[in-house]
Subunit: 397 residues, 2 copies
Amino acid sequence: PIELKAKITSIAKSFKKLGEDDPRRLTHSFKVGLALSLVSLLYYAKPLYDGFGVAGMWAVLTVVVVFEFTVGGTVSKCLNRGFATFLAGGLGIGADYFASLFGKKGEPIVLGILVFLLAAAATFSRFFPRMKARYDYGLLIFILTFSMVAVSGYRVDELVLLAHRRLCTIILGGATCMLISIFICPVWAGEDLHKAVASNLEKLATYLEGFGGVYFPSCKDEGTGVNSKDGNGNSLFQGYKSILNSKNIEESLANFARWEPGHGRFRLRHPWKHYLEIGALARQCAYNIEFINACSDSDIQASEEFKSKIEGPCSRISAECGKALKALATSMKTMTDPSSAKPNVENSKAAMKDLKFALKAASTENADFLAIVPAATVGSVLVEIAKCVEKISEAVH
Amino acid sequence: PIELKAKITSIAKSFKKLGEDDPRRLTHSFKVGLALSLVSLLYYAKPLYDGFGVAGMWAVLTVVVVFEFTVGGTVSKCLNRGFATFLAGGLGIGADYFASLFGKKGEPIVLGILVFLLAAAATFSRFFPRMKARYDYGLLIFILTFSMVAVSGYRVDELVLLAHRRLCTIILGGATCMLISIFICPVWAGEDLHKAVASNLEKLATYLEGFGGVYFPSCKDEGTGVNSKDGNGNSLFQGYKSILNSKNIEESLANFARWEPGHGRFRLRHPWKHYLEIGALARQCAYNIEFINACSDSDIQASEEFKSKIEGPCSRISAECGKALKALATSMKTMTDPSSAKPNVENSKAAMKDLKFALKAASTENADFLAIVPAATVGSVLVEIAKCVEKISEAVH
């Protein structure tokens, strides 16, 4: 019983944390509840029930299945469902009429063949990558509606009335979902994408700004970011890891964003593709950081002496890159001109040149070449990162 | 009209290619068609229709929604749907009974509140990452069934009979799907995961084996892989890029694989988690390769002279790593003992030592330090890759 109690409290805590991490989840849950309650009026209100009958069930079904977290997701599912139902319903009624020409014996056979062929063809076309990205749900509903209308047409007489009622209730349910998701605390996929890309840049910036302090020991005495290696600082340095696998999330958000009506500072046809490019560059940068991280965990360590020689330019490169990324992220967030990042990019370029000189100078003095290589490697990774940052700053424009 | 014709032929071609790339897609489409035809017998056959009536519709719906490409996907959706329907149906009937205690006036209000609360709670729990991975569909069906049963209970009198019929047809539809997907040309998610991980190792191996020939110019005269840089060779070298974003696919396959019954050489409770680990290490390796690729595209090139000095050990490291990976991939595929990769790993370790000596020797002779750094960087990346390969070989055991 004590264990059970502990378990329940831990579950309750994780529930609470889930809500605190993103309060929109809570409002989303209430929105779904609200939409369902509204739609069930089709059953409770006598005049509505007299009009639609048990077809009101389809409105309930539509709400549950169609309501997604983001506006874009909801709208795309609603439109997909609406059009697919309409099209497949029409085709199904046509198929039924066609099959009835073959007499009572032939009808089920013809219907069976038609359902088999159409279902197979539609299922196959769901494998198309392009179809899958945008119209997967529509195709599913198409198969569903067509087979249901065609098959039940064999037994039900007032097929057109039935189809008409269902379409109406589905449209009603879909419209309820769209209105609620757009007008009550909307969650825009486009805004999420915008924020996700900007925050990825920020995560990179945090890592790069802190990098000098962690990798070069002498910096540790300087004050800022001293103890950041352990404690909560560590989580800051792990932040970039989530960028490595951000591709799928960004792509699905961009996909939903295309369905959204213009809102806030985002016009219709906002350049969502652009965000994907910046996202890809940020991932590139994160791959490099991942490598640098592996290097500094490595057991072969560079000599402290050599490290201290290239320390200046190296930490300048990473710091300037970090600043540039931070400036770019802020300018993305506020949607202002990103030219404030330019001086930082120039500075990092200058630091790259310094690094070259420092390497040259160090090499003539130092004899133990092996001790130099790891640090030199870190230097060249930083150069690659700086190049990436430059590309990002161009892409943001 | 000519343009239209061209478009149609191009679409037909891409359809054909889709089928040729993976013929299982074609069989999957036919399997869906077959399942639908079978299930529509519930309507066509008089005795069955007398038993179930229009509830047969639910069997059609279940088949369309539940049938997935892999066995694991189908089974997990079927079981989720079955259990969720059963549970929610029971709860819904209970809620209806409870609400009826409040009289005809109070019933819709109580029902509305209950539906609102349960839907909101279930929607919220869908945000739990663990729930989302395994029971997302079940929760959706839970909300759906509960609200449908509870709401329609207000108007329908024979609620228990209705719920019973629906549950029966849903089980019928689900069973049809499971049987067809397991016994007719099954597509096992576990097998796909197995193959995907092994082929990722192979892609890495292909890159590493070819790397020496491309990066070090003098190798180009040796014969093998000479012209592989352009032409079809290029696509071989891009193969590893798909690994960078393989995480989601692998995770969903592993998720499905857990639902699958034992089959072929895979026992029940096969160590699917292990595959995810190997996959993660392969990704790590691919990140490093991505970096090396960026380096060799870079405009700062190492001096040819220095390159030729470290060429021997470097290309030996990459070749041995490639061979080791290939051996590991084959041993995974055939599920035999992977110890044949051991000598290659040992060789690559020896080559790493040689590389150290070569670097030391080269540094004393060479004055132009800057020209050395890029090549030395490549060398240390190779060392990192070799370490990764060693870890992979340990993980495969």
